[in-house]
């Protein structure tokens, strides 16, 4: 009976041939997405550089996209982005790494089972909520210590961004540290090391690639973070190095300009793409670096 049925199932063999191709087509959507991003950004960026010379854009310290004498220097945005990222990493790296060490080296199973999900919750909170928190809580709080702080400034969103990134650094570093074989720890403990010494001199050096990769991913995340800065750091486009002041990041600029809905075809509209392109390249490099680091050193032990 099955014998007979078998030969009549031509349909299956067609499905069998079509399915891999169909699924490949679906899988290429992700590549198309990347291509879409690159092409979109690139086309309009090229248009932008027809209006504004490449060098003027990347060396210009004046960003004044709207006035009659519009000027497009991206340096104010770059400083804003770099500042917020550096501040964020000053928070996220030490706290994240210490939390990772605690969870991986010191915490008992039970404690870890309680604390890790809390960190995960922190990672799942939408950034808009962090933005609200930065603007309505952290800034006023900081201003009670630092009266010179502007109501919108780069410091507060930087710190909150750091808090947002802590779980990411902590969880990726913890993964890297947990995958260091126990025999390594035992070897060090048997030589009379304290836990701190084991962690610092054996576990972290052994896990260093994963740990650094977590930092780099954190940086990438900070560079691309949008809503926190859009809400809490204002839109000041001055080229300044003062962290008590409002500074605009690349992401916040994009939100401002699209929020103001720049019309297609204007230089300011193209500037949106040039900034986005810069942002995209920055984060892409960071992601590739992170992948390279973790791949290169993965097979260490």
């Amino acid at each position: 009976m099955i014998e007979k049925k078998r030969s009549s199932t031509n349909l299956t063999s067609v499905t069998e041939k079509v399915m891999p191709k169909f699924l490949l087509a679906i899988a290429t959507i992700s590549i198309l997405t990347t291509l879409g991003i690159v092409i979109t950004l690139l086309t309009e960026t090229i248009n932008f550089f027809k209006d504004v010379p490449f060098l003027d854009f990347y060396t210009g310290t004046i960003l004044n996209p709207l006035g009659d004498d519009a000027q497009f220097g991206v340096l104010p945005l770059l400083t804003g982005t770099i500042y917020s990222t550096v501040i964020a990493m000053f928070v996220a790296i030490p706290v994240g790494l210490m939390a990772a060490i605690f969870l991986s080296e010191y915490a008992s199973d039970k404690v870890r089972r309680i604390l890790k999900p809390i960190l995960e919750i922190l990672a799942g909170i939408p950034t808009i909520v962090y933005g609200f928190f930065a603007y309505t809580f952290v800034t006023p709080l900081l201003r009670s210590f630092i009266p010179a702080l502007d109501p919108t400034n780069i410091l507060s969103p930087g710190i909150v961004m750091g808090i947002m990134i802590i779980p990411m650094v902590a969880s990726l570093s913890e993964d890297a540290m947990s995958s260091v074989p126990n025999s390594m720890r035992e070897g060090a403990l048997a030589l009379g090391s304290t836990k701190l010494e084991v962690t610092w001199k054996v576990v972290i050096p052994a896990a260093i690639s994963g740990v650094i990769a977590s930092f780099v991913l954190g940086i990438s995340r900070a560079i691309g973070e949008t809503m926190i800065v859009a809400i809490a750091s204002g839109s000041n486009k001055d080229f300044t190095f003062d962290l008590t002041q409002s500074m605009q990041t690349m992401t916040a600029y994009i939100v401002e300009v699209t929020g103001g809905e720049a019309p297609a075809g204007s230089t300011i509209y193209y500037s949106l793409y040039a900034v986005a392109m810069t942002l995209f390249v920055f984060t892409l490099i960071m992601n590739l670096v992170a992948q390279y680091i973790s791949r290169k050193y993965r097979e260490e032990y």
Partner: protein, 275 residues
Amino acid sequence: MAVLSDRENKKVTNIDRDGNQVDNKKIVYDTKDLNLWYGGDQALKNINLSIYENEVTAIIGPSGCGKSTFIKTLNRMVELIPVVRISGDIRYREKSILDKSYTVEDLRTKVGMVFQKPNPFPKSIYDNITYGPRIHGIKNKAILDEIVERSLRGAAIWDEVKDRLKENAYGLSGGQQQRLCIARCLAIEPDVILMDEPTSALDPISTLKVEELIHDLKKDYSIIIVTHNMQQAARISDKTAFFLNGEVVEFDVTDKIFSNPKDNRTEDYITGRFG
């Protein structure tokens, strides 16, 4: 059964002590009614053993009998397992090491350990050896260099690695790695060295080298070695303890154990009838 072996343990220990007072050697380790549980499972039962200076003491027994557990109790490494509970007493150089007041780091500085699987740090050979001295505060480069050479010579591996001290220890063969681990242990100038099947992951030639090394080390250190390999125990140890189901069935001079065991379970094991 428990009563029986208990009695036997005592006897063994007495004989052993008597036998050794003649040698005039000092006792390094002395365990008294040592019991250990993993959660509800008892892994060590009333262990009473005395281990003497500058001897090689072998621990033999079938898989799961508690050999590793016992040896890891001697430097309190078992404490890393959260479910472990211990009763009884262990005296090292006459001080009770199970005491809260005894710092484990201190104990482990005096009692080195070599593991079944070579576990060098993923660092250079040089850094592997100097790890211990450094954490104990030695920073002087000249002294460290001296320690490295002496330890590597002590572990009979100096000639093989002296030209590649800066290379990663993972580039060494398994046998070399194990000797490196022994050298790393020597670098902190321990009093006792614990070894848990140090050759079981090695090829015969490397095994031979490590065995020779152990023989040499005996002059300066007291060594306690766990082994699956009866021939090895016979070749290198002065005393042998036979463990079974967490108990010490017999503990005596190695020659006696192998030629003329008192307990017929020992005999069965040695002649390969089980295990």
